[in-house]
């Protein structure tokens, strides 16, 4: 593992003796629930007592946002296990970490290396700070990027022990559906209440562009203690942001220090370096399975080729000499035109979707009477329109798939003579 950071900062700038402790201290302050600088120092010398804190920090880095609240309930072993699998799925090259015991008894130097690998790869710090951001307004996401990005480590693969009664599966599906409906009802309630608050606090906000208060701001006015807590959280966030800036200014010293940490490690076994990164999507059941799957795929491909050939031959036979001649050319031209039009519409829709002004991330909800759109502002009607068109597309796909299922069921029902199929009632 070589140094992955390019030198962006003037090396002569922070060359003083106190620069390293300052950098590490800044890093520690900018991390939410970050470990103390002492932990970093101990980790360089691979002291066991530094391991648990680093496991927990890595867990914070790697777990999806949704687990955040429940992370307290996960034991250290569970956290360590998740960290290992997440690092593997991101392609972390060092095998020593995968072999560390999960009880947090040792391995702090390896964990420190993993930590800096993550810091070097991407804006982890900024992401964590964004997640911990104190929201003053009523925020609503307008895209699904965050939901997709925060899928986190893959869930452990579970095998069913023996046949499962389908009624149990239907039961569970039904429970999910009910929960989803209750969630919808709760969201509608939230919207109704937000609307009320925005309406009632018109004219209360000092910022003219906003005009009304958000829930957090209203609470702040209503409950002074809550206001003080909010202030404390904002101050805490500010401190974190300042620390992050300080870290960015002085981080070069840290990277040089990390080189020494890497140097202090024993050399890795050569065979391990050749192992490719673990791909999480394909479940590995054993070496023989891959061959079996490949063979089956090839056989399937051959079958499909044969089937298409047969179909094509049959169609040709049926159509025969048709499709040529004067009365067909106009029909064919019309068809061509229709297809071109549809293609153009699809491309246009696609371009619209991929347009530069695609909104991202959470936006603050502001209720306004006037129609004048500000430069940065996003109109709810526009967002709704985009979502509705997406919904229509998805529904069309769903209907198509359902139609295919129905055809398949009808085919199956017809194939077994003397058997009566009673399909579930459908209005």
């Amino acid at each position: 593992m070589g140094r992955r950071r390019r030198l962006l900062v003037n090396p002569a700038a922070e060359a003083g003796a106190g620069a390293l402790p300052k950098a590490i201290a800044a890093l520690s302050r900018s991390l939410p629930a970050g470990p103390s600088p002492e932990i970093f120092r101990r980790a360089k010398f691979d002291r066991p007592e530094a391991a648990p804190a680093l496991w927990q920090l890595l867990f914070r880095f790697l777990s999806p946002r949704s687990i955040g609240g429940a992370s307290a309930s996960l034991g250290l072993e569970a956290q360590a296990c998740l960290v290992k699998s997440a690092l593997r799925s991101q392609g972390y090259p060092r095998q020593v970490l995968a072999q560390l015991p999960e009880d947090g008894s040792r391995g702090s130097r390896e964990l420190l290396l993993a930590l800096s690998w993550l810091l070097a790869r991407g804006p982890v710090l900024e992401r964590l700070l964004a997640q911990a951001h104190v929201q003053l307004g009523d925020e609503m996401p307008v895209c699904e990027c965050e939901a997709v990005a925060s899928t986190g480590p893959p869930a452990p693969h579970m095998e069913a022990e023996g046949p499962v009664d389908i009624r149990c599966v239907q039961w569970l599906m039904g429970r999910l559906r009910f929960r989803w409906r209750c969630l919808t009802a709760s969201q509608q309630e939230q919207c109704a209440l937000l609307s009320k608050i925005h309406l009632y606090t018109r004219g209360c906000h000092s910022d003219q562009r906003l005009g009304h208060l958000s829930v957090a701001e209203t609470e702040m006015l209503r409950d002074p203690e809550g206001g003080r807590q909010l202030l404390r959280r904002l101050e805490h966030e500010n401190a974190g942001l300042e620390a992050a800036l300080q870290w960015r200014r002085g981080e070069l010293v840290f990277w040089r220090w990390m080189d020494t940490v890497l140097g202090a490690c024993p050399p890795e076994a050569p065979a391990a370096a050749a192992q490719p990164a673990f791909l999480p999507r394909i479940p590995e059941r054993g070496p023989g399975q891959g061959e079996l799957v490949a063979r089956e795929l090839r056989a399937l491909q051959e079958e499909l080729c044969e089937a298409t050939e047969r179909r094509r031959a049959a169609w040709e036979a049926r159509v025969g000499g048709q499709g040529r001649g004067p009365q067909w050319s106009s029909a064919r031209q019309a068809l061509q035109k229709a297809v071109d039009q549809e293609l153009a519409a699809l491309q246009w829709a696609w371009e619209q979707d991929r347009g530069p002004a695609r909104p991202h991330g959470p936006h603050r909800l502001v209720r306004r009477e006037d129609e004048a759109p500000g430069g940065q502002d996003l109109q709810a009607a526009e967002v709704i329109r985009v979502l509705r068109s997406k919904e229509a597309c998805l529904e069309a796909v769903l209907r198509q798939l359902q139609g295919q299922c129905r055809q398949e069921l009808a085919r199956l029902a017809g194939a077994l003579p003397g058997l009566i199929w009673i399909l579930p009632p459908r209005r």
């Binding site: 239907q170 039961w171 009910f178 009802a185 309630e189």
Partner: protein, 453 residues
Amino acid sequence: MSIVTVQLGQCGNQIGFEVFDTLFSDSHSSQGLCSKRENEAYQASCKERFFSEEENGVPIARAVLVDMEPKVINQTLSKAAQSGRWKYGQHAYFCQKQGSGNNWAYGYSVHGPRHEESIMNLIQKEVEKCDSLSGFFIIMSMAGGTGSGIGAFVTQNLQDHYAHSLKMNQIIWPYGTGEVIVQNYNSILTLSHLYRSSDALLVHENDAVHKICAKLMNIKQISFSDINQVLAHQLGSVFQPVYSAEGSFHYRRNPLGDLMENLVPHPEFKMLGVRNIPQMSENSLAYSTFTWAGLLKHLRQMLISNAKMEEGIDWQVRPPISGLPPLGKMPLNKELHFNTSIANLAILRGKDVQSADLEGFKDPALYTSWLEPVDAFNVWKTQRAFSKYEKSASLVSNSQFLVKPLDMIVGKAWNMFASKAYLHQYTKFGIEEEDFLDSFTLLEQVVASYYNL
């Protein structure tokens, strides 16, 4: 979260009144056996769910009254207004000037579409008054004519317009010895339509409630009002506020959603029944004491032996011995003594409720093989006593309890259908033989599914 109630027909309106009255009286009762603060939280939760605010302080029931005749609606409205404690919305009702024959098909195919807009507008107005809508109660009889037909139509409409909201139909199962000759046709048509558009069917059997009035409450001349009050008591004991979790002191926000998620997620198994213990007249109540152990033991046996009340329970019925293979497909004519449950929800209210031991309900032998007791059994509790009962327990269960009555009704209806008796009353208004056949198919499927647990 609020529930909007649609009261349909004579049956639905009379019962609906008793339900709101019971809910209101209980929430304002002084014998809650709990602190003032707790009582206020209970009241507020009940109020948000079933009543809306009014300027002069009299709560308005979240309800829409529908009937083709004005008589019962007028009675209901005035009874509520006279009490002075709560009332119905001034314009929250729909009725016609004159009744229109006791005909299911007429109700479904003519009245329903004709008055669809007016009725849905009334419901929409009620929905808009809610800050958040949990779902709908639809109270109606199953075997009635016009009222049941309209009820089936309205439920279908609710499914179309409020697809995400939950719908629970409170169905009154007719007396076994009913007077209307076509009541079995009406029953199967109602049930099959509701099965398609409703989420849960909470069945109240007239026979069972009648027996409760006679044996337990010692009422000599049983009137519909008595029966409706017992029914309202059962319903209230289920839907009044309960704590959201073991050890929590916050009330559940969406009991309807939680109940449905626990009891009726499977589309083939939607029939629910309620058992409530103890039930007795107010005079006897003053002289009785109860223990949780005793109450729960009786309740469990009531469930297993399919008894509807705590008197005359068959204590011989036992769960099948575990270790034997689970009962496979049983022939339809086999006598069912043991009532297998799919899922149960126990609701305990009153003193020392934390000490109640419910292990008996977690026995896997009580349940079907494809659901573990941990998923199949749930408990809700609150310390606040219900309706002057120091301790009371209710059980809402999804079990085989209705299989035999349903099978009987389907059988009788089929016999009539096979000889084409009285069909012209239905085909005249657009309910064709095809529709009957669809209904029979669906209900046979339901019966088979429940038998084969």
